[in-house]
């Protein structure tokens, strides 16, 4: 079976040829099978977000290939590949349009798969959206006509999660998507994420700074450092791993300590 996502020898430098040159991705390779849920660790500036941006097509990589479900998307335009990729960022504001209603936001996201209809919001899609919103357990299904901007950050992130997955993407990218939420909301959004990924059998990559979360979610954990892949845990080895052990393994592989922020998350 060939991989759902295959990244090979990906490289990206910012401001090359200047004293500020920064190698964000350095010969990075990763294969993800269909249904894999991979958590990604790495200190600040390790290149995690840059990896996502390359997959999303925000910039062309300097070298390397990105193949999604057998299709080479390395140089495909950003909005074209978005048909098959859903993404969620740390900032809940990035995923939603504030002055449009919840319903219209979902309709926008659903453009990827919706049947052609004259009006963007129609009865059949609305019923579908209502069901989906109800699964969040936030009561949003009764507030579909209110503007997205009126929701709290957590509610908006939950809605954005629905938007990112509403068209059953071949790949879901989560960039610290609960880091800006309060603990309770964060847990709720994470549970929802887990459920949606499982129900739809999505292939997902999730960046986090929380060791416990990295081991507690998904079936595989990788660690990045200076744009390289330095660790790839799965199977029994991963089940036996403790957050403490992960930190030691990291210093061992990368030759330096993890950043403070990641260690803090250990306590």
């Amino acid at each position: 079976m060939s991989a759902q996502l295959s990244i090979s020898h990906l490289a990206k430098s910012f401001e090359p040829g200047t004293p500020n040159e920064k190698i964000a991705l350095n010969d990075f390779s990763l294969d993800a099978e269909k249904g894999d849920f991979i958590t990604i660790l790495g200190s600040n500036g390790a290149g995690k977000s840059t990896l996502f941006n390359a997959i999303l097509g925000k910039f062309p990589p300097d070298r390397g290939r990105i193949v999604l479900d057998g299709e080479d998307i390395t140089y495909q335009r950003e909005h074209r590949r978005a048909i098959d990729i859903g993404c969620l960022y740390q900032n809940p504001l990035r995923g939603t349009a504030p002055s449009m209603t919840i319903e219209e936001n979902l309709a926008m996201a659903y453009t990827r798969k919706a049947s052609k209809s004259f009006f963007a919001v129609n009865r059949r899609d609305s019923a579908h959206f209502r069901e989906l919103l109800a699964t969040l357990g936030l009561g949003l299904e009764n507030r579909m006509k209110i503007k997205m901007g009126l929701l709290s950050g957590g509610q908006r992130q939950a809605a954005a999660l629905l938007m990112a997955t509403i068209a059953r993407p071949k790949l879901l990218l989560l960039d610290e998507h609960t880091a800006a939420l309060d603990p309770a909301t964060s847990v709720k959004v994470l549970e929802t994420t887990k459920r949606i990924v499982a129900e739809n059998g999505l292939t997902a990559l999730m960046i986090t700074h929380d060791m416990g979360m990295a081991l507690g979610f998904g079936n595989r954990t990788i660690m990045m450092d200076s744009g390289r892949l330095v660790m790839d845990l799965r199977g029994q080895e991963r089940i036996d791993m403790s957050p403490r052990g992960l930190v030691d393994l990291f210093s061992d592989r990368s030759g330096h300590e993890l950043s403070d922020r990641t260690l803090l998350a250990l306590r």
Partner: protein
């Protein structure tokens, strides 16, 4: 008096709609407007003189859209700052408009018709306002026709902004990144939005051209501020709500703006004060929310101090 003010307001209403789309829906300061207004006007003049008054309206719309297309491409393909893109198009259009009028700065809607004795007397071209005479009162029937055009614009736009392309354009002004991640080409929706806005502005230019029966290069200057004043006045009345309300409020704002101007003329203010008056109206309307906030804060502080000293 009121009819003439409302008539003016109706002629400029499509332009207010265009400004609303550019500034409020797309969230883009589009300075093409002064230029596309005159472009709609000059192209309309040529087609009207050629004897096709209705076609001339559509030609005016197309001219405006073409101007919008240029600005849109400058913004999206060449990544030029939106304000500068508009200024570039507007400046370039000055030359184009001059050329359309055959090197003159104004043109009357008439054509030299040779009379019986070989002497040629200019004959006025047909306009949509002459074609449709509803009654004795020419001014009133012109107003009714303009109102019909305006209502048609509002209705079509209100429906359009509920369709798939319509909400994509709205979302582009709201959160462009979200549009791209919904697999929609945001450059395209942005360009179409700017074309739509300037098409409406071009229509306004065309309507004014046939109503006053001449085209004049000077008619465009300050249009942007007039449009903004209309949008802001409308918003002060209706608040910032949905798109349909926004469209209606822009149109109502355009009427009220003209009534205010008319009132200013009544108290014998010379016509050259219009521009300053417009600038003041826009400034006042923009400052209003801030002033409200300040006065509330001041009151809260005073109450707080009084309670604290007790």
């Amino acid at each position: 008096m009121l009819i003439s003010a409302l008539g003016q307001g109706t002629l400029y209403a499509p332009m207010a709609l265009g400004v609303f789309i550019a500034f409020r829906i797309l969230n883009t300061p589009d300075l093409t407007i002064d230029g596309s207004f005159v472009f709609g006007m000059t192209v309309c003049a040529l087609v009207t003189i050629a004897g096709h008054p209705v076609l001339a309206m559509f030609a005016g719309i197309l001219a405006g859209m073409l101007a919008g297309l240029v600005t849109g491409l400058l913004q999206t393909k060449l990544r030029i700052n939106p304000i500068l893109s508009g200024i570039l198009t507007m400046t370039g259009l000055y030359t184009v408009n001059y050329m359309v009028l055959g090197g003159q700065s104004n043109l009357y809607l008439q054509r030299a018709a040779s009379g019986d004795g070989g002497a040629s007397a200019p004959a006025a071209s047909r306009t949509i306002y002459r074609m449709l005479k509803l009654g004795e009162n020419g001014e009133l029937s012109a107003l009714i026709l303009s109102v019909l055009i305006m209502a048609l614009c509002v209705a079509l736009l209100a429906v359009f902004f509920k369709t798939r392309p319509g909400i994509a354009i709205r979302a582009t002004g709201d959160n462009e990144e979200m549009v791209r991640s919904s697999s929609i080409n945001a450059d395209l929706t942005r360009t179409i939005g700017i074309m739509l806005a300037n098409g409406l502005v071009g229509l306004s230019g065309a309507m004014l051209c046939q109503a006053q029966r001449y085209a004049d290069l000077g008619n465009g200057s300050g249009m942007l501020v007039v449009g903004l004043a209309s949008v802001i006045i409308g918003q002060a009345l209706f608040g910032r709500r949905g798109v349909t309300t926004g469209l209606v409020s822009a149109v109502v704002g355009s009427e009220i703006y003209r009534v205010i101007l008319q009132a200013a003329y009544q108290i014998d203010m010379p016509s050259y004060t219009v521009k300053l008056l417009s600038a003041l109206i826009v400034t006042a309307a923009l400052v209003l929310p801030l002033a409200k906030e300040k006065s509330l804060a001041w009151r809260a502080r005073r109450t707080g101090e009084r309670e604290g000293s007790r």
